[in-house]
């Protein structure tokens, strides 16, 4: 984070109630120096999350050399209520036969055209499993919405009368998820579904993949993310599941001891997550005293459904429409189908070797970064793919036939570009770059084509001085690629003669001359990234005005893209 962002974040956060203590360092069992009284800088958590693998980066508030005074601070095991994370909870009733199911879900509504992240937990977990993750997502996308559901038999979803055997088949769970999404839409009075990102952990991954593959949410689904589940290895692991389940305690003396068990057994390697999500897994049953807190979901009883959850998952994952993200806690979990798919570049894979199975609870910050980045790449509202070269060629050929039509379209494009340029503040590099592109007829037309989206995204044409660093990736990309494909088209389509003169009149700009380079743009590009130097200075090797325009256009593109680099790291495969 830059200092500026940090300042901004601090000023934002100060208007909120004090945040829950968030320090992943306390996953470390040995160092019990966790001081609950001190608010922690969020940045320290990313550094210290790696502490299990080696380096511990001391932060100033840890008082490394202070003598212990009195008893060491006891780790807090207090539960954290859901209200810390979500705006509201929903109870959505549905009736099947004589059974009424009240689906329970946590919701934070999206603002404007922001996306809604829909999360489905794994077997035996609850909607609060994603609470800390969603807080991290909303730190990065403050307008984003979250809908985290409790599946039937889990969390606060209830059924009356309670069936003797819970139907937890994949089809039922998928239908439940769809129903909750539709009911939420009705309850919240949304006209259309917001852009959706489906996130599922474990069993939930199978459910969201099934929903994505069914296509029942239509075009609303931008993408889906599956957390730590792969068909092949899941089915292999099922054999040892009963053994695992038998080693779990049957009940706990208190909620705190339940939370403590999850942390100590390293089931959840982040105390904040454990304090948030574990209370929803347990319920109080007096007859079980002295260990009255027992599991809400009897996992052993769900065994008949296990295989059905995962069979065909890999195939569905590769075939469903939308962006695909798989986050795993280890590469050894990939099965053959997904290994092939990954090496053919069919989806994005992220691996978090430091995390356990509940990777979104263990490393909420990293997971959120990956998911936000995934959203940004798949966000259709900012992304404008470049025009197809074949279309451009076709268009180019038509224009070539009559110079009249060329003049006409160039004139209208010039007006659009002109007015846009006027609305820009005096950002010399960008101004001259744009006018350079505009001097070329095809560049002009392509530019006018993109202006509406650029302008609207920048908000009423008022562009801040920090234009370059604030340009979102999508727009940077559209700029780059429009100019790039433009250049491609130009270089193959023969140009009509006399074009330059026509444009000179239209633009009132000097006749384009071969220009060695664009000093302004170079400076901007250099200041952002060293890489741009090479590209921008390539202008020297080209001599036509067409190529000159293209060079400069790219230099802006690169500068903008580099500026957008803070958006997070992509290490996806």
């Amino acid at each position: 984070m830059s200092d500026l962002q940090r300042q901004w974040a601090k000023s934002k956060l100060s208007s909120f109630p004090p945040p829950p203590i968030f320090n992943e360092a306390d996953e470390d069992e040995e160092t019990d120096n966790f001081d609950t009284g001190l608010p922690n800088d969020d940045d320290s958590s990313s550094a210290s999350s790696a502490s299990s693998t080696g380096t511990v980066i001391p932060s100033s508030d840890q008082r490394l050399f202070a003598r212990p005074q009195g008893p060491p601070n006891k780790r807090s095991l207090d539960q954290i209520p859901w209200t810390t994370y979500f705006e509201r909870e929903l109870f959505l009733e549905s009736v099947e036969g004589n059974c009424t199911t009240t689906h329970h879900a946590y919701l934070t509504s999206p603002v404007g055209t922001s996306p809604l992240f829909i999360t489905h937990h794994g077997a035996g977990s609850s909607g609060l499993s994603f609470a800390v993750l969603t807080a991290e997502i909303r730190k990065r996308l403050p307008m984003a919405g979250i809908l985290s559901i409790d599946a039937r038999g889990h969390g606060s979803t209830t059924m009356k009368p309670e069936p003797e055997t819970m139907d937890l088949s994949l089809d039922t769970l998928s239908a439940d998820l769809l129903r909750v999404i539709q009911e939420t839409k009705v309850r919240m009075g949304w006209q259309d579904l917001p852009p959706l990102l489906l996130i599922g952990h474990s069993l939930g991954g199978a459910v969201v993949t099934d929903v994505a593959k069914s296509g029942k949410l239509g075009n609303a689904v931008l993408g889906y993310a599956v957390l730590d589940v792969v068909e092949g290895s899941a089915i292999d692991a099922l054999q040892s599941m009963q053994t695992y389940l038998s080693t779990r305690p049957l009940g706990f003396a208190s909620l705190e001891s339940g939370i403590d068990w999850h942390i100590r057994s390293r089931t959840i390697r982040n105390s904040l997550s454990a304090r948030t999500s574990v209370p929803a897994l347990l319920c109080y049953k007096e007859e079980n005293i002295p260990r009255p807190w027992v599991w809400k979901t009897d996992l052993a009883a769900t065994q008949p459904f296990w295989e059905g959850w995962f069979v065909g998952l890999s195939k569905k994952f590769l075939e469903a429409r939308g962006g695909k993200l798989l986050i795993l806690a280890g590469t050894d979990r990939l099965d053959t189908e997904l290994t092939i798919g990954q090496m053919q570049g069919k989806y994005s894979l992220q691996v978090l070797p430091e995390a356990g199975h509940f990777l979104h609870e263990d490393l909420p910050e990293k997971t959120a970064m990956i998911i936000v980045d995934f959203y940004k790449r798949n966000d259709r509202s900012t992304l404008v793919l470049p025009p197809k070269v074949s279309d451009l060629l076709r268009a180019g050929k038509k224009i070539q036939i009559t110079t009249e039509s060329l003049k006409e379209s160039a004139a209208s494009a010039a007006v659009a570009v002109e007015s846009y340029l006027e609305s820009l503040p005096d950002e010399p590099g960008f101004q001259s770059a744009l006018s350079d592109i505009a001097r070329n007829p095809a560049g002009l037309m392509s530019l006018s084509q993109y202006l509406p989206s650029i302008t609207s995204a920048l908000g009423e044409g008022s562009v801040p001085a920090s234009f370059f660093s604030n340009l979102p990736t999508g727009q940077a990309f559209s700029l780059i690629s429009s100019v790039a494909s433009e250049a491609n088209a130009l270089l193959t389509a023969p140009l009509p003669t006399g074009t330059g003169d026509d444009l000179e009149i239209l633009k009132g700009a000097p006749k384009p001359k071969p220009r060695p380079t664009m000093p302004q743009t170079d400076t901007t590009a250099d200041s952002v990234t060293g890489m741009a130097t090479g590209t921008a200075s390539t202008s020297a090797s080209t001599s036509t005005s067409k190529a000159g325009a293209m060079e400069t256009g790219k230099a802006i593109g690169i500068a903008a893209a580099a500026g957008a680099g803070f958006l997070g790291f992509v290490m996806a495969l």
Partner: protein, 423 residues
């Protein structure tokens, strides 16, 4: 026998060399690589290879099939490390060979030659396991930063001649038997027998009625039993200059001439976006123009982009790796781009065959190397005069398809048991 030759012998036996020697080797390699441009010019004959991914025994099989170094010139298009169990030995052997025979080995960078990726996908752990410290990994990563980003192969012949050094005695007779100057593509199995051949596109129509051709349908699967080799190919119909650009991933919207690659500052970790990232991450796809890559880095690019690029840069084709192809190689977009994959049975379980691509030397002086290095006609912005085109044919290509080395020749570390909570 020099230290280097000793190191090569030791690595060929799949035994790691001491840390001090690795350090020295990496130092020498860096001195060598720093002198290379971002795009290395390579003269045919050369054998182009795709991903290796630490499958050391399959790399040995590759050398057996393709001919040993220094008798054969090799160009490896990156992804030497990760996933396989012998990333260290594979990469160090290639590096030793590079230092020993600098003009006969060309190594370019793949997306796995990066600190970030190798920490996740195995190379880092392997170094740690074999040396007890991350030093060797660190030395190797420094070498990664100096690897070239691409290569241009010049002087490849347009006519297929029988291999100069057949792998086995019987193959000599079989290749000579089929000597045919009109053949553009020939696919051989690991023993050197011909699986498939394709004539020149412009001659194909004239020869359509000729019964003498042994295979004419590109889609027919005629591989020997068990290889499942087919290799989808069609004759070149695009630009026909003879130069081949080799890059690990593909093209970038920021790169429209080979010159632009030359101007990048490559001595860094692979960035998350930008031209250098795209070159190592992008994939060709059946789309128009550019598209989002599902990988999360790089782009997808369509036939139009490839043809524009080849045309503008006077290339006859692009050779790249990066994507697993079950048949070992795959030509796309009227043979304007080919994917070469050289890791058979990838990850020891994907069941694919591997391939290498041989481009033979032009003995007739007909190829276009004198002017096809991507800098042609700079003075007029890359426009080619109409009469410059169509004179030259694309390079003749001989693919050798091979399978994984026998299982018993490798001691495979036991797989980590995955006993975790999966609900």
């Amino acid at each position: 026998m020099s230290d280097l030759d000793k190191a090569i012998a030791q690595l060929r036996a799949c035994r790691p060399i001491p840390e001090a020697q690795v350090r020295e080797l990496c130092h020498k390699a860096r001195e060598l690589l720093i002198e290379e441009g971002n795009v290395v010019t390579v003269k045919a004959p050369v054998t182009i290879c795709g991903d290796i991914h630490g499958q050391f025994h399959d790399l040995m099989e590759l050398f057996r099939v393709g001919g040993d170094v220094p008798d054969t010139n090799y160009l490896f298009m990156g992804d030497f490390v990760d996933r396989g169990f012998y990333s260290l030995e594979s990469f160090l052997l290639l590096l030793c060979l590079k230092v020993r025979y600098p003009d006969r080995m060309t190594l370019i960078r793949g997306n796995h030659e990066s600190r970030q990726i190798t920490t996740v996908y195995g190379f880092y752990d392997e170094c740690l396991r074999k040396y007890g410290s991350a030093n060797v990994w660190r030395y190797c990563c420094e070498v990664f930063d100096y690897l070239a980003l691409g290569a241009i192969v010049l002087g490849a012949t347009t006519q297929l001649e029988p291999s100069r050094q057949p792998v086995t005695a019987p193959s000599r007779s079989s290749t000579q038997e089929y000597l045919d100057p009109d053949v553009e593509i020939e696919v051989l199995d690991s023993g050197g027998s011909i699986i498939q051949r394709f004539p020149r596109a412009n001659k194909r129509a004239a020869r359509a009625n000729s019964p003498s051709k042994d295979s004419s349908s590109p889609s027919s699967k005629t591989g020997p039993p068990g290889t499942s080799a087919s290799g989808w190919t069609r004759g070149t119909t695009g630009s026909t200059s003879g130069a081949v650009l080799c890059v690990h991933g593909g093209l970038s919207p920021l790169i429209d001439t080979v010159d632009k690659i030359r101007l990048l500052d490559r001595k860094q970790e692979v960035p998350h976006e930008g031209a250098m990232c795209d070159l190592l991450w992008s994939d060709p796809d059946e789309i128009d123009g550019w598209g989002l890559s599902p990988r999360g880095a790089g782009f997808l690019f369509g036939a139009d982009i490839v043809k524009q690029f080849n045309h503008k840069n006077d290339l006859s084709m692009i050779a790249r790796a990066h994507q697993l192809v079950m048949e070992g190689f795959k030509e796309m977009f009227d043979s304007s781009i080919v994917t070469v994959w050289s890791a058979p049975n990838y990850c020891y379980r994907c069941g694919n065959v591997a391939a290498i691509l041989e481009l033979a030397e032009d003995g007739m002086g007909e190829s276009a190397h004198s002017r096809s290095n991507g800098e042609v006609n700079r003075s007029n912005g890359g426009f080619k005069k109409e009469n410059d085109r169509t004179l030259l044919a694309g390079p003749a290509r001989r693919y050798r398809v091979f399978q994984a080395a026998p299982q018993d020749s490798r001691g495979m570390p036991a797989k980590k048991p995955s006993s975790f909570y999966f609900l």
